[in-house]
């Protein structure tokens, strides 16, 4: 008679217990549905409870192909997912607690009367080409990103840096004019490259010091990485031997490939597919609580009608957030008026009910703006094709304004034209988008991206003078380490934002991923800075 295997007594360490508790609190505070909590707990438990195995090939399906191999220039999420494993970054955002922690750096210390950030690096780190990683390489990387000729979108992220000094092989000093809280979270995006590579990195195969080495990129077919056996940090070393990323543009094909077992993991797919996949026993769904990506509408204040605050407020009252989340995000979202959700320390509870769905208020605000029953009103929504959620929100907003007497047009263009009209010609009235970074430090949330002034990519055309006191509060929050003072400053920032409403924030959305049951240890990252080092294959 076959002996039944002995049942393992489940044990849990204090560290794991705390992680589970923190995870549950995180998801619950995020307003996550029970399914989200269950998914996260399952993923976290899988990552920590079983004994990881080494070996095998993990095949990951992504929605589009990467468009460059340049670590500092390419900004697609699909590239972030891949390159996070190739390179080391000085810091990382914990995918469960969302806290920013040191990664390559051993420590960050503000010195010199809080005008310098001293970074300590570990010794014995080598790049994939065998070169030793030193403070010179980190300086080279940061200086290159600051150079406008390199063309890095991260230039603004590290804008407050004045100078980078190498103290010794493992220490460097970053000079600023004050404490700059955006820097350490910004370093999560900065991939450290050997200085011998130069800056023309798009023409070369990536060389990093991460747990995975780059093998090849066949455009429109795959990117292959292989495990770095000499990775310096054993605790973060990879388990699977190879990772193959395949771009599959058609959503139904991606899901079919997963169901057929042709791929192991489908990274980031439409939330509307979540209920269907959750019902399928052959796959596991991992959902990130709604916290990072937020649906907003950019309003062009350079031209009528959104130069009037009443019209901007009308836009704030025009969306049925609950209906949108329930019907089009499979319930995997959270209505919000702030870039932050309640789990975030900077969240201001007063923002909760600042704006909600109210067509009567929209009608009244149109009247106050000088457009009674929409007479004389002219605007449209600019929508990029291939982003159905943007079109749905635009359509819902269109319906609300139609009920108030004016039916704005929806102009659908391709993504390149959309980006050019938003950023370059500013030829738009209103455009829906889902900018990221709601889960990171507010100093970074407010210093980068399209929504928040003052920054060079401020698409709405809002000047710092438009909202008196707003920039001062931003600086207060960005330049002190006192959490209480920061919380007060950012509460004021949120209050001023909602009073002037340069761009309504409607809700946060989850992100969803699905994998075959043999994929273990996968914990999705809210900002696509995905680590696959913990992932292993059970069979």
């Amino acid at each position: 008679m076959e002996k039944r295997p002995k049942r393992q007594t489940p044990s849990i360490s204090r560290r794991r217990l705390l992680a589970h508790a923190g995870l549950a609190a995180t998801a619950a505070a995020a307003g996550g549905a029970p399914g989200v909590v269950r998914d996260l707990l399952r993923a976290q438990a899988a990552a920590q409870s079983a004994q990881p195995k080494r070996g095998g090939t993990l095949t990951v399906s992504q929605s589009v192909d990467i468009n460059t191999l340049h670590p500092w220039v390419g900004n697609l999420n699909v590239w972030k997912v891949i390159k996070t494993g190739i390179y080391d970054q000085l810091s990382y955002q914990d995918p469960v607690t969302f806290q920013v922690k040191p990664k390559l750096a051993k420590s960050f210390v503000w010195t010199d009367n809080n005008t310098s950030l001293v970074i300590a690096l570990p010794g014995g780190v080598t790049f994939h080409n065998g070169e030793k990683l030193t403070a010179e390489d980190v300086k080279f990387t940061i200086d290159s990103i600051r150079d406008p000729r390199v063309g890095s979108w991260l230039r603004g992220f590290i804008g407050p840096i004045k100078e980078v000094l190498v103290l010794d092989e493992t220490h460097l000093k970053i000079k600023t004019s004050a404490i700059e809280n955006q820097l350490i979270p910004a370093f999560t995006y900065v991939d450290i490259v050997p200085r011998s590579m130069g800056t023309d990195l798009a023409r070369r195969n990536p060389i990093g010091s991460g747990p995975y080495k780059f093998v090849e990129w066949i455009p429109n077919d795959h990117v292959t990485l292989e495990r770095n056996p000499a990775y310096w940090n054993e605790a973060r070393a990879g388990h699977v031997d190879r990772i193959v990323f395949r771009p599959v543009t058609e959503l139904q094909t991606r899901i079919s490939q997963l169901l057929a077992g042709d791929v192991d993991l489908v990274y980031d797919f439409s939330l509307q597919e979540v209920p269907r996949l959750r019902a399928d026993k052959s796959v596991a769904v991992a959902v990130v609580p709604p916290a990072d990506q937020m649906f907003v509408v950019y309003l062009n204040q350079r031209r009528p009608p959104f130069h009037k605050v009443e019209m901007r407020r009308a836009m704030g009252w025009a969306l049925d957030r609950q209906g949108f989340i329930k019907n089009f995000l499979a319930g995997l979202g959270r209505p919000d008026n702030s870039p932050f959700t309640p789990q975030h320390w900077a969240f201001d509870p007063k923002t909760e009910d600042a704006y909600a769905y109210n067509p009567d208020t929209v009608a009244k605000l149109l009247e106050q703006s000088g457009y009674p029953r929409g007479r004389g009103l002219e605007f449209s929504f600019l929508v990029p094709s291939g982003y159905p959620e943007f079109k749905i929100i635009s359509t819902l907003l269109q319906a609300t304004f139609a009920s108030a007497g004016y039916r704005p047009a929806i102009e659908e263009v391709d993504i390149a034209q959309w980006a050019a009209r938003l950023n370059q010609s500013h030829d738009f009235y209103a455009a829906v988008d889902y900018p990221p970074r709601g889960s990171t430090d507010p100093a970074l949330t407010y210093s980068a991206g399209l929504l928040f002034p003052p920054n060079p990519a401020n698409v709405g055309g809002l000047t710092p003078e438009t909202i008196p006191g707003y920039v001062d509060e931003l600086r207060k929050g960005a330049t002190t380490l006192d959490r209480g003072a920061r919380r007060a400053a950012y509460a004021k920032v949120q209050e001023l934002w909602l009073a002037y409403l340069p761009g309504p924030i409607y809700c946060h959305r989850s992100t969803a991923h699905a994998h075959r049951p043999h994929v273990q240890g996968f914990v999705p990252h809210p900002a696509f800075q995905q680590s696959f080092a913990d992932v292993w294959l059970a069979s």
Partner: protein, 320 residues
């Protein structure tokens, strides 16, 4: 005959020149900016301006066209702003996939179209003819992406007979390669077969009612002989024209099939290039596709003398 061949050959030059101008102008005037697409919406303006300068996008249109044509004359179709691979490198990798797909689709299309087209023409108004015509209309009406997804779901997910998309290169074995190409070939070939079948049926019907066929039958030739030697050969002339056009479509129009089945072919390459405003790749590939279209039609026209003695003997065919 020689005059016809020379005239037909030379007509390709102005056509191709016109195509280069058209392709360049179309890509030039499409709103959008590759520098913004690469750097992203969050990049500061000076960063985008720097990339535009690096790539020569801030130069006047005639200078850019001149550079492009000079490079083409040297056999250099350009380099991707994004991947920094040359157009020829990208095409060398993608074209075999599309070519294989087009060929296999053509085989599927011919396997369906030729027997059904001939049988429909031989027995017009029969149940088979009505059924084939109805099936043809259905085949024309069914969207390619829907058929593709249904095939994937049935054979990939439910039955697990074939892979649910993706490409297996020939280097990994012929059997694997064919398994990965079968469903896309069926999806693409089914659509192509409907048009081919209708043309072949119409052509055969015309020929079967011609006097020389009646004469051949009156001479006592066997029905199969009449069909194969006399009817089919003449019906093939208009069919070949359509086949050439279809081949062009199959080579250049596989975007949807390649996207649905995740094949790294020319269709996806050019679609991504257009969406990213990767002008060099987009113009280079569109030019190649247009040139292959023009040359295929030229090849078909040059085949006429082989199939039609009137062309070979220099008699009027309506061309001269």
């Amino acid at each position: 005959m020689a005059r016809y061949l020379i005239w037909r050959g030379l007509s390709v030059i102005p056509t191709l020149t016109g195509i280069t101008i058209l392709v360049f102008l179309v890509t030039y005037f499409i709103p959008g900016d590759p520098a913004r697409m690469l750097a992203g919406t969050e990049a500061p303006p000076e960063v985008v301006a720097g990339l535009r300068h690096q790539w020569g996008l801030d130069r006047p249109i005639h200078v850019r066209y001149g550079f492009w044509m000079a490079n083409i004359a040297r056999g250099n179709l350009g380099e991707s702003y994004f991947s920094h691979q040359t157009v020829l490198q990208l095409v060398r990798r993608a074209f075999p996939v599309t070519f294989e797909l087009a060929m296999l689709s053509l085989v599927v299309a011919l396997l369906i179209a030729v027997p059904s087209g001939i049988l429909s023409a031989v027995r017009p108004g029969s149940w088979f003819d009505l059924g084939a015509t109805a099936a043809g209309f259905v085949g024309l009406s069914v969207p390619g992406f829907w058929l593709g997804i249904m095939l994937i779901y049935l054979f990939g997910v439910e039955l697990r007979w074939l892979p649910a998309g993706g490409f297996a290169p020939l280097s990994g074995g012929l059997a694997q390669n064919l398994r990965s190409m079968l469903l896309p070939a069926i999806a693409l070939g089914t659509f192509a077969s409907t048009q081919l079948m209708r043309y072949l049926r119409a052509g055969m019907l015309d020929v079967l009612n011609a006097d020389y066929i009646r004469t051949a039958r009156a001479k006592g030739l066997a029905a199969a002989m009449v069909l194969v030697r006399h009817a089919m050969r003449n019906a093939l002339i208009p069919f070949m024209t359509v086949l050439g056009v279809q081949m062009g479509y199959l080579l250049g129009g596989t975007v949807i099939t390649e996207s649905v089945f995740a094949l790294p072919g020319m269709g996806r390459l050019v679609l991504n290039a257009i969406l990213n405003r990767d002008y060099q790749v987009a113009t280079g590939i569109i030019l190649l596709i247009a040139a292959s279209f023009v040359l295929l039609n030229l090849a078909v026209d040059l085949l006429y003398p082989v199939l039609d003695p009137r062309v070979r003997l220099g008699r009027s065919t309506g061309w001269e």
